[in-house]
Amino acid sequence: MDYGGRVRLDCQNRSGMFGVIQLATAHVSAAMRVDFVQTAAASQVSIVTPGGLSRAGRLSRERVHMDEETEQDTRDAMTALLLSVGRTQDVTAFETLFRVFGPRIRSYMLRLTRDGGLAEELMQETMMTVWRKAGQFSAEKGSVATWIFTIARNLRIDSYRRSRRPEIDPNDPALVPDGDPQADSVMETRQSEESLRAAMTRLPTEQREILMLAFFDELPHSQIAVTLDLPLGTVKSRIRLAFGKLREALEETA
């Protein structure tokens, strides 16, 4: 998948809660590089407050379908960039990934560490791991964002919490293999990724709030109950409802 031209993509969340990013993904031909670097320099992630002055807030319903397509294009572009890093150690492709994900990783790390310098260090380590392991990324398994999220999460556990994360070993002879080995194709993964994201925007605020606290503040569900002053059972049931809906959305796709 080549992105020979300069592609300007607007990626935004329909809920209007999140940011608009503008990113440039031209990286393939050397001739484009100067142009790319200039564009990339301008591709800062900007903040959009909920219901604020963003273009996101003003988007009409007619554009929703198109936005889904541009979001998908952005994800495809990210996939192409990461695959290129894995294949050829493409520094230019890596720079674009760095400029898109670096600020997000930093903000993820900052939520827990509350220390800008440390958050920057952990971000740099995460992106170094992305660089080193890019060859292991497989587009059939999931999105670039998910892959980078798991790397950042593991680093946060290892380096910041100095703890171990016990994990399965995919080559363990005791591992019970998947019953119906689904022919995971890139296309199927793309589709479920889209359904998932659409379903997430439909989650009630009370459920999404819990997911944000869980993923970003790394609060266990028992602590979420304390933070939100809710009975533990309520938090558990909201988590169950949220993932029930997400699973349902994926099953409809399948």
């Binding site: 940011g19 990013i21 800062q44 992630v45 903040i47 894995g86 150690q89 720079e95 760095f98 400029r99 670096g102 600020p103 997000r104 930093r106 903000s107 993820y108 800008g116 958050a119 971000m123 740099q124 170094m128 660089w131 080193r132 392991k133 060859g135 292991q136 999931g142 999105s143 964002a145 998910t146 980078i148 999220f149 798991t150 593991n154 556990i157 703890s163 994360r165 016990p166 399965i168 070993d169 995919p170 080559n171 002879p173 591992l175 019970v176 998947d178 990724e193 998932l196 994201r197 997430m200 869980a214 993923f215 790394e218 609060l219 266990p220 569900h221 988590i239 993932f243 699973r247 994926l250």
Partner: protein, 226 residues
């Protein structure tokens, strides 16, 4: 093997986000090794994390300008040109003729499979094996309980996770066999009975101060005198 009792969404989410401590995570990850459907549920949760991750925004004041960050990163890449690109994931290991009873990550924690372990006798055919972890807030151990015995009806005060690895037990909520996962808390009051036929081998994780409250440990209590 049909697993009937799975990890709850709330506990699996804690594992997916990274907030679950090492001790509890050994039980969750070992269940995942035996349960493809829970692995699928975990993948969904991680994808949800990735989706949230990709739509969050970063305030410019979070740290140095991205140009400066990139300059540092670029210098590191140029400094270590051969640091890039670890080989793709290793090819699958040869399947051994007999699959071990203990899955990873548990097997590495205890240093071998069930028949090679230095079980410590509790008397009357019961054995246990404490497992060292870096997580002092939990107590992790394997228990091997002789087939057939009932356990006094009891409730729970802290969280207790039990993963059945061999044999089985049953209580009011059903039968628990290999791969089944019991998540007990204050709400559960039950009377488990180890099934006849084979010794029941379980992984039991409890809050450290309540280390002997696990029902399997209680079963051993009369033998231990604790």
């Amino acid at each position: 093997m049909t697993i009937r009792h799975h990890v709850s969404d709330a506990l699996l989410l804690d594992y997916a986000t990274g907030s679950l401590g090492e001790g509890w995570s050994i039980a969750v990850a070992s269940h995942l090794a035996l349960c493809p459907s829970c692995r699928k549920r975990l993948t969904l949760m991680e994808s949800a994390g990735g989706a949230l991750f990709s739509v969050t925004h970063a305030a410019p004041s979070d740290g140095p300008a991205i140009d400066d960050s990139w300059a540092r990163m670029r210098a590191r890449l140029l400094d270590k040109p051969d640091a890039g690109n670890l080989p793709s994931a290793p090819s699958p290991a040869m399947k051994s003729p007999v699959a071990p009873t203990l899955p990873e990550p548990l097997r590495s924690y205890v240093g071998g499979d069930v028949d090679t372990l230095q079980w410590r006798s509790l008397g009357r055919g019961a054995y246990h094996l404490p497992i060292a972890t870096g997580d002092k807030s939990t107590s992790v151990r394997l228990l091997r309980i002789p087939a057939g015995g009932p356990v006094p009806e009891h409730g729970h005060r802290g969280r207790e996770l039990t993963l059945v690895l061999a044999g089985s037990f049953h209580d009011e909520t059903g039968v628990f066999a290999r791969g089944d996962f019991e998540e007990a808390d204050e709400d559960l009051e039950h009377q488990p009975v180890a099934m006849p036929g084979a010794d029941c081998i379980c992984l039991a994780v409890t809050d450290a101060p309540l280390r002997f409250r696990s029902w399997v440990v209680r079963l051993a209590q009369p033998f231990l005198g604790i």
